[in-house]
């Protein structure tokens, strides 16, 4: 059976996923299946990288080989590293013109609404397809103000000093097996530098698309907000409905210098064949603020705990996490807050929904270092179960070495109540719509605080996920 026939067969399966089509496009370059030292070197060569980056990669590869798989949390035994292709190039080079890419790829991004979103509400947009960006553009005015928005690949060449200084400074390769893997084979992702006092209030966005099956996407993102700077960054993603799995292991490092603010917003909507194992961490200096909005709807297994290390006095961290675990999905998400200086504040709000055999977990770490006086942290996690077999777990860990702190943790689990559904039905509302109303009601306190384009998109995704959940 040809690859395309096999694909259409998988595709015909009933599924509410909207962006599961496959593009028949040829590869400009590929490292083929499997990972080795040679593959790592080859990726670096294909990118014409300076030697210092090749060295970083090779060192990280050694760490990756030695590190065991995570022993806690979701079972990752099914992941066979030799099955994936670690690098695919789809176009000769990135362009700031949408028309430069092959027609099939452009049609895909059109379907995803990316060019339209760029026109409407973005100050800069990047579109990554497989391993590299096929489109990348920053609003000219921001460029004149000194804002740097590049693909990470380009930043290695154009901004070597900043990359050398900050790459791996928040998440070292040795942090975990997947951060080591990413550091070895990373490709694509964004590099942003916002100069002192400059505010980028219109979001910059990168969209990540996987097209092939058994592929690995390893983007690397680094955002630096200099003193008093502000930036809002969005990311989204999707993939075709392949039967075989792909791996997405990103590393995202945020550096928020004194008095700056970074807002990082994600809607993760991978198809249910993707292992999404992502390390996201921010370092916040004096009086800086970092917020993560982390929405997980897709993927087979997601392991991701956006984190803020508040290392300067008065720093502030916030994580808003929303997860929807549908049939056979495992959303293991949460947050880590490290209070490393006095008067630091963090807030974690988590809402999760589990449907059918879906399972969502909240995993959180609150760590207050000795001397981080007057720090405060508030964690609130609510879980909603849709069916009898749905499951949710909460794993909060607190490590408090300072006495003068205020920590609050609240958790709740509720189940969609048959009588609520009946009540709405008795008012003429069909069961499926009643279910959507109850679920949307559960999410409402959080959704109403989201940026408009996010709340609309998210509610639409939730409603799609709920189709077929009754009867």
């Amino acid at each position: 059976m040809s690859k395309e026939d096999k694909f259409s067969q998988d595709f015909s399966e009933f599924d509410s996923y909207q962006f599961g089509h496959y593009d028949k496009v040829k590869h400009i370059a590929s490292t083929g299946k499997g990972i080795s030292r040679d593959v790592v070197t080859k990726i670096s060569e294909l990118k014409n990288e300076p030697g210092w980056m090749t060295d970083i990669r090779l060192k990280a590869y050694e760490v990756f080989e030695k590190k065991p798989m995570p022993s806690w949390g979701p079972d990752l035994k099914e992941i066979k590293f030799e099955d994936f292709t670690y690098f695919i190039r789809s176009t000769e080079k990135e362009s700031d013109q949408w028309d430069d890419m092959p027609k099939e790829i452009l049609e895909t991004f059109d379907k995803l609404g990316i060019p339209e979103a760029e026109k409407k509400f973005l100050a800069g947009a990047s579109a990554q397809y497989e391993s590299e960006a096929v489109y990348h553009k920053l609003n000219e005015e921001l460029g004149r103000e000194g804002v740097v928005f590049l693909t990470m690949d380009q930043a290695v060449k154009d901004e070597p000093d900043l990359v050398k200084k900050y790459f791996g400074s928040v998440i070292p390769a040795s942090d975990n097996k997947f951060s080591a893997l990413n550091t070895a084979v990373w490709s694509g992702g964004s590099f942003i530098y916002v100069p002192p006092g400059v505010e980028v209030s219109t979001p910059l966005q990168t969209y990540f698309r996987i097209n092939e099956e058994e592929f690995g996407q390893f983007e690397r993102t680094l955002i630096i907000a200099d003193k008093g700077a502000k930036v809002v960054y969005n990311e989204g993603c999707s993939a075709p409905k392949w039967a075989k799995s792909s791996l997405h292991a990103a590393v995202v490092e945020l550096v928020a210098l004194e008095d700056s603010r970074i807002d990082y917003q994600t809607i993760q909507n991978w198809y249910k064949n993707i292992y999404n194992l992502v390390t996201k961490r921010a370092k916040a200096e004096k009086n800086a603020t970092v917020t993560w909005l982390d929405i997980n709807v897709g993927s087979r297994i997601t392991i991701k705990y956006p984190s803020v290390m508040m290392m300067g006095e008065g720093a502030r961290g916030e994580v808003q996490s929303i997860a929807f675990a549908n049939e056979e999905q495992l959303q293991d998400s949460g947050a880590k807050m490290i209070h490393g200086a006095p008067n630091t504040t963090s807030v974690v709000t988590s809402k999760s929904i589990s449907k059918g055999t879906g399972r969502s977990s909240y995993r959180g770490l609150i760590k207050v270092l000795k001397g981080a006086k007057n720090s405060s942290c508030r964690v609130e996690c609510d879980a909603l179960l849709i069916n009898e077999e749905s499951r949710t777990d909460t794993y909060p860990v607190m490590d408090i070495a300072e006495d003068e702190t205020q920590i609050a943790h609240e958790a709740s689990v509720s189940k969609v109540n048959e009588d609520q559904i009946f009540y709405l039905q008795s008012r003429g509302i069909p069961e499926i719509d009643a279910m959507k109303m109850v679920v949307n009601g559960f999410l409402e306190p959080m959704v109403k605080k989201l940026p408009l384009e996010y709340s609309v998109e998210f509610q639409r995704l939730v409603e799609l996920e709920l189709e077929g959940s009754v009867g």
């Binding site: 009946f422 008795s426 008012r427 003429g428 559960f442």
Partner: protein
Amino acid sequence: MKDDYILNINNLKVSIDDKQVLQGIDLSVKKGEVHAIMGPNGSGKSTLAYSLMGHPSYELDSGDIELDSESIVDLEPHEKAQKGLFLAFQYPMEIPGLQMESFLRSAVSSIKGSEETKDVFDFHRKVLKEMRYLGIDESFADRYVNDGFSGGEKKRAEVLQMLLLQPKLAVMDETDSGLDIDAIKVVAKGVNRLKEKGMSILIITHYQRILDYIHPDRVSVLSGGKILKTAGPELAKELEKTGYKDFVPKKSSLDVKF
């Protein structure tokens, strides 16, 4: 004539958790009629209300229910509502996060068609007008459905829904329970307004009190899962004096279904 009746219940038997609670109910409500069902606690009154609307926990063992000469036993609850059946709940459910007005808009457009709610501002004015009529504070339009409402506020909200949905038959399940006289008067004002427009009412109550404000044409006594007597409004007065002692079911009538 069959056409004269909005509701016809024939030999309705209903079980919950394998226990037969309704043991052959025969009951009819004429178009435009107010029919009161009275009975002691545990007689099956609320089961009757839930069974009419089709709550999934209540299993219909046998019998038929006709709304406006059409059997509705196989319909989903929302379809029954669309055909003009309304249940005012004894304990209205709270739906956190769902705004009252948004809920009302969905309900009205499901039952009366989307044309009714197409003009958002017009619908909003209509909701506020009915809220004022029932003495409900305007802020309730933005509040979550029944969430944190007092007992009386919930019952007024039920009548608000009734006024907006204009059903053919309203089943009122112990709407008077927990209400003071002023609240009962407000509820009755709303219900009587719809009655004048031709709505039929099946009013289920333990006490005669609400019947001073919503006058029944007929009164039936439900006890032990059966209708034991049907008469004119004088029966309600009589029950007020004598209580239900003449209608205590014989032990054997509380059958357990095997």
